[in-house]
């Protein structure tokens, strides 16, 4: 989910990656053009309790959420300044009673809309109304390929069964379906079956997204961190499936950066091609950015326009480009390849968002942190801390969070 419009997703011979083409036409001063796609986190409310949730630990309460009229104004403004796609996400976006109205408004102002959902609150009628309102694409998260593992991870009984049902409705309505499978130590053994499940559900795309470790996932790292053997096996399975399923199922693979040599180009670079809007209306460089203390984020409720916030706010400019970088990044030949990795991860693991992402082998913290992760993976402490508004609830023996 974090690699929206990641570069390298090209469409071959004739049409090329939009961002690359559009950016190549810009002068340096215009490098930070308005993103092509924006993530709208409508709410942090969610019936699931996944221990790797990408929402911040400090969740926005229902009462602080933008109103229907405020979201509509945001959508109009986004379309006006050149945003082309809107991803409705959360929390669980279908927990908002006004979702159909918001999708319709997105359509009316010319935005291509995508629903990123757990699907457990959907009914066929609701999905049909969303399709009629112009919804272009549905992305459903899966926690496994069968209820035993999947419902335990989700912390919700019968969740898997409901997801399968909703996925079928999606295809019956002729909406394209992406299966989003978040992978970690306790479900990686199901990867081959999850790929087959996506084919059987007639999905167009499968995102095999390894957990990224900040926020809730960092709290659950000992329970989620894969072993190096699992990662090798994962790459082998994905590579084989990509070839075998060409033209049937497109597979995007988000590699776990803990076991990589170089950090990921997080968000395509801070403030470079992505922003999201939190339930309460904060404009953020990434959905985990609020975990970085000491950064002030502007709100759509302020008297600034969204374009102004994107271009001028302190939070976006702090880690933009390469000027802010310390060594070893500053003199590194890869500094414009990965833009120093992930700021949230640097903050979470080193206490300073301005440090080199420890995922990079050149970081002085790398050895210490990633040896610890390997030890955690080997220790097999499998108990989850479920995500909720109460700061998390530990899984109890014999009964999952459902």
């Amino acid at each position: 989910m974090s690699d929206i419009l990641a570069e390298g997703k090209t469409a071959g011979a004739a049409p090329t990656d939009g961002l690359a083409v559009l950016e190549s036409q810009r002068s340096t001063a215009e490098t930070f053009g308005i993103p092509l796609a924006v993530l709208a986190e409508l709410t942090h409310r969610c019936p699931l309790q996944c221990p790797y949730c990408s929402n911040p630990i400090e969740l926005d309460r229902g009462g602080s959420e933008l109103t229907t009229e405020e979201w509509k104004k945001v959508l109009s403004e986004l379309a006006e300044i050149g945003v082309l796609q809107i991803h409705f996400s959360g929390g669980e976006p279908t927990a908002r009673k006004d979702l159909v109205e918001l999708v319709q408004h997105a359509t009316d102002v010319g935005l291509y809309s995508n629903l990123i959902t757990s699907a457990v609150l959907l009914t066929k009628e609701k999905l049909s109304a969303l399709a009629d309102a112009g919804l272009c694409h549905v992305q459903i998260s899966f926690q496994g390929n069968e209820p035993m593992v999947a419902d335990r991870v989700a912390g919700l009984k019968n969740a898997h069964e409901k997801k399968i049902e909703a996925a079928k409705w999606t295809r019956e309505l002729d909406l394209p379906l992406t299966v989003n499978a978040v992978m970690h130590r306790q479900n990686l053994h199901q990867l081959a079956d999850i790929i087959q499940m996506a084919v059987d559900l007639d999905a167009d795309r499968l995102e095999v997204a390894n957990v990224q470790y900040y926020g809730w996932a960092l709290k659950n790292r000992a329970a989620l961190m894969p072993t190096i053997e699992q990662i090798d096996e994962t790459s082998r399975i994905v590579e084989e499936a990509v070839v075998r399923l060409k033209g049937i199922l497109a597979i995007d693979f988000v590699v776990p950066d803990y076991y990589a040599l170089r950090p990921k180009k997080c968000m395509g670079g801070w403030g470079r091609q992505f922003f999201n809007i939190s339930p309460a209306g904060k404009v953020l460089p990434c959905h985990a950015a609020e975990s970085i203390t000491g950064l002030e984020f502007e709100s759509v409720r302020s008297n600034h326009s969204i374009a102004w916030i994107w271009q001028n706010s302190e939070a976006f400019n702090r880690y933009r480009g390469t000027g802010w970088m310390p060594e070893p990044c500053q003199s590194c030949e890869f500094k414009e390849v990965d833009f120093g990795g992930c700021r949230c991860q640097a903050f979470a693991l080193t206490g300073d968002a301005g440090n080199t992402d420890p995922a990079c082998t050149l970081s002085p913290m790398h050895e210490q942190i990633f040896k610890q992760a390997e030890r955690e993976a080997a220790a097999h402490q499998d108990r989850f801390l479920y995500r909720n508004f109460a700061g998390g609830t530990l899984e109890t023996e014999g009964e999952h969070g459902a």
């Binding site: 469409a11 004739a14 990656d17 939009g18 083409v21 082309l84 394209p176 167009d204 033209g247």
Partner: protein
């Protein structure tokens, strides 16, 4: 099922854009774009022209006729180019074929 989407573009195909692939002129950037799930593609001028012909009625052969006449170019070469481009889009799921509705 999924396998039916694995279409092979030929001269007789009557391709069209599926509902999740939208061709649009981007007023802000002054370029044509194709919007697809999680992607924005920037088709070049020729690709835009071909995509605009993909209405589910015209065959790829018809398109080659039109373009060969318009550009006074050898039909065979154009046909090969068009098929190549459309097959690439089809492989990525951004192109579908007009087909009979099954009850």
């Amino acid at each position: 099922m999924a396998a039916s989407r694995n279409i092979s573009v030929s001269e007789a195909s009557r391709p069209k854009l599926p509902r999740h692939a939208k061709l649009k002129f981007d007023e802000t950037r002054k370029v044509w774009v194709m919007l697809a799930p999680e992607r924005v593609l920037a088709p070049d001028e020729i690709a835009v022209e071909v995509l605009q012909l993909c209405d589910g009625v015209r065959s790829v052969g018809d398109m080659a006729d039109l373009l060969a006449a318009k550009y006074v170019a050898p039909r065979e070469a154009i046909l090969a180019d068009v098929i190549g481009m459309l097959q690439d889009l089809a492989d990525k799921g951004f192109l579908t074929e007009a087909r009979e509705k099954t009850p």
